[in-house]
């Protein structure tokens, strides 16, 4: 630890990190474009200049991201000289930056926009026309590049060099004619392309699936946990007008995902924007299914389960720890073994984040006493029983392709079950609509929060499970 004086405050800071990191720890806002805490600092944008005096020498203006912290350093981030240097920098950065803010997806969370607003740097003194470059360079499935907006901070280049270790982007051209491009114009590959749009401080790299979908200030953001693998990255679920999830972004979590997340998780939101989702309940009526309230479906399900002599129970790996506790009570009431469906690891496993295991709460369920079972074995268990309870998000999808025979089925899923033996379908919320806990592959706790309201005709899974257990004990008593 090193002692420095920062804006008149004496602080103990970590000497292994650059000065700008010390400013962040102290809660002092220093603007930055090229510096990213997860990447090697290069000092290319020069916007983080602050006034530093060392060893009694006169104060000098230095880039905070490339300055090592030394004992007794006196730093002033708000000095007039530092402000002047930063304002000059900003003027150069804005020299060729197009006035695209009305159509730019970054507007509202763009630090270039924020800082030019803060410094009142709106008018340009230059009479030269702005440089014209390619506005739409298609970089594959995920990313669209606007070379005019680019301020050449090279965060994207460094992200690929340092994080994915698979460089595909480069800074081509010389001096003022520089631009970002891929090698030989090839499209980007890999499962971490979405992070490029996150690291880009301006709107040069934008996500194609999010392109013009929403203005960022209209998005309601809630912290949550990614559902796509057992890593359980911390995410921010961003919802437009209490309806569709428009974007999922990683949130910094030093223990799990740092600043990053994979594209599989990032673009998994169509799953929870399903317009065909089940609401209320469905019960078998002759050969058809009849729409009823959740309460009626639960009472019908209890009747079916009470008359069954052998009941199987299969949980989804998407159940939260809290829901698993209620499933356990239900499992004991029907005398079923506690099992959860665990599909085979998929080919998405990589060295960075994705574990390849599509069960976000495997650890939590195993700790709660559930045993993993493959989808094929699970189907065998179902066909061997009189009745089966299938509970949890995506359980029907996980069992799809396996014959469930004519066993009487009670399902609690976001979708309706179309198998022949279905007796009752009870609707449940998606993981973005509930509060709960998942335990990831390393034992870290991932919280789920309510990112959007659940439809009025859908009730929380815990409540449905408690009601089902109660109705079951009443139905059992009357039989």
């Amino acid at each position: 630890m090193t002692k420095i004086t920062l804006n008149g405050r004496e602080l103990e800071v970590d000497a292994s990190k650059p000065l700008i990191a010390a400013c962040d720890t102290a809660g002092i806002d220093v603007p930055r474009y090229c510096y990213h805490p997860g990447l090697e600092p290069v000092g290319s944008c020069r916007i983080c200049q602050v006034e530093v005096s060392e060893g009694g020498r006169p104060a000098r203006v230095m880039a905070a991201c490339r300055t090592q912290v030394t004992e007794g350093m006196v730093v002033n981030t708000e000095a007039a000289g530092a402000h002047d240097a930063r304002r000059e920098c900003l003027e150069f950065l804005l020299k060729n930056h197009p006035l695209d803010c009305p159509i730019c997806d970054k507007a509202g969370e763009c630090t270039l926009q924020d800082y030019s607003f803060q410094e009142q740097q709106a008018a340009s003194r230059s009479t030269e026309p702005r440089a014209t470059l390619e506005k739409r360079v298609d970089l594959g499935e995920v990313i669209m590049l606007d070379q005019e907006r680019c301020i050449l901070c090279t965060r994207c280049v460094r992200f690929q060099e340092e994080v994915t270790k698979k460089p595909e982007l480069t800074n081509a051209g010389l001096a003022s004619n520089s631009y970002i491009t891929t090698f030989a114009g090839r499209p980007l590959t890999g499962n971490y392309q979405g992070n490029l749009a996150d690291v880009c401080p301006v709107g040069a790299l934008t996500l194609k699936p999010f392109r013009f979908q929403a203005r960022v200030w209209n998005l309601e953001k809630s912290s949550s946990t990614c559902a796509e693998c057992s890593r359980g990255c911390s995410i921010s679920v961003e919802v437009l007008r209490r309806g569709d999830v428009k974007r999922i972004r990683p949130v910094f979590n030093p223990d799990v995902n740092q600043w990053w997340m994979c594209d599989t998780g990032r673009f998994s939101f169509p799953e929870v924007n399903d317009a065909e989702r089940l609401t209320g309940g469905l019960i078998a009526s002759g050969d058809d299914l009849m729409g009823v309230t959740t309460g009626e479906a639960i009472r019908h399900a209890a009747g079916v389960l009470a008359s069954s002599s052998k009941t199987a129970l299969l949980a989804s790996p998407f159940l939260t720890v809290e829901e698993a506790a209620e499933v356990k009570v239900l499992g004991e009431a029907v005398g079923a073994e506690l099992l959860f469906v665990s599909p085979d690891p998929n080919e998405l496993k990589d060295d960075l984040l994705h574990t390849g295991d599509p069960c976000p709460n495997r650890n939590g369920l195993e700790q709660a006493g559930f045993k993993a079972i493959s989808p094929a074995d699970a189907a065998t268990r179902v066909t061997g029983a009189d009745a089966a309870i299938l509970v949890g998000e995506r359980i029907l999808k996980l069992l799809a392709g396996n014959s469930l025979g004519s066993t009487k089925l009670v399902t609690l899923d976001t979708a309706a079950c179309l198998a022949s033996g279905v007796e009752a379908c009870i609707s449940i919320p998606f993981y973005v609509e509930k509060a709960g806990t998942w335990i990831n592959v390393d034992g870290h706790i991932g919280r789920l929060t309510i990112a959007r309201p659940i439809p009025a005709s859908v009730q929380p899974l815990e409540r449905s499970l408690v009601e089902l257990t109660k109705s079951l004990s009443r139905a059992g008593a009357s039989v």
Binding site: I103, F212, A214, W217
Partner: protein
Amino acid sequence: MVIVKRKELSLSERLYLPEIFRGMSMTFRAMFKPAVTRQYPEEPLPTDEVTRGQPRLATNDEDGSIRCVSCGLCEAACPAYAITIDGQDTDRNAITIAGDVTEKFIEREPKEFEIDMLRCILCGFCEEACPKDAIFMSDELELADFTRKDLIYGLDKLKRPVSTLRPRIDYIYKVNERWQASSSTR
């Protein structure tokens, strides 16, 4: 107790007639003057460029394309939350206005642009917020329909050729100094 003494009336006052003639002279004078009332709705209300009627979206005269780029600033500025915009990608070329091409592409245009006229308070903040000179207060004031749903105006009801909004645009530029400094697409 207060004793109020009645006023003694003069002869002319007791006769009433002079007062009646005075009143009737007023009536007959007004009868031959031109009428000040207006035959609304047969005769429309007069409007001028200062009238802040319902907001309308300007379309370019040259090709009928909409000027709006769905940036959402009017939506953010609207104090009554009357505006809802959904954007979409477009590769429509920007038209050349007075030989000055500022953009190669428009890139973004509204997919849906709704103004809930029941909520709109005709304040004109949207007009002031717009960076693209795309929304202006028109001289249209009448608002009546049979259902509430019909009063949520979509793109089809909001589009107007920019030439029909011209007097308002010129007026707005005249009164707003800030706009004079940056008259790009006018």
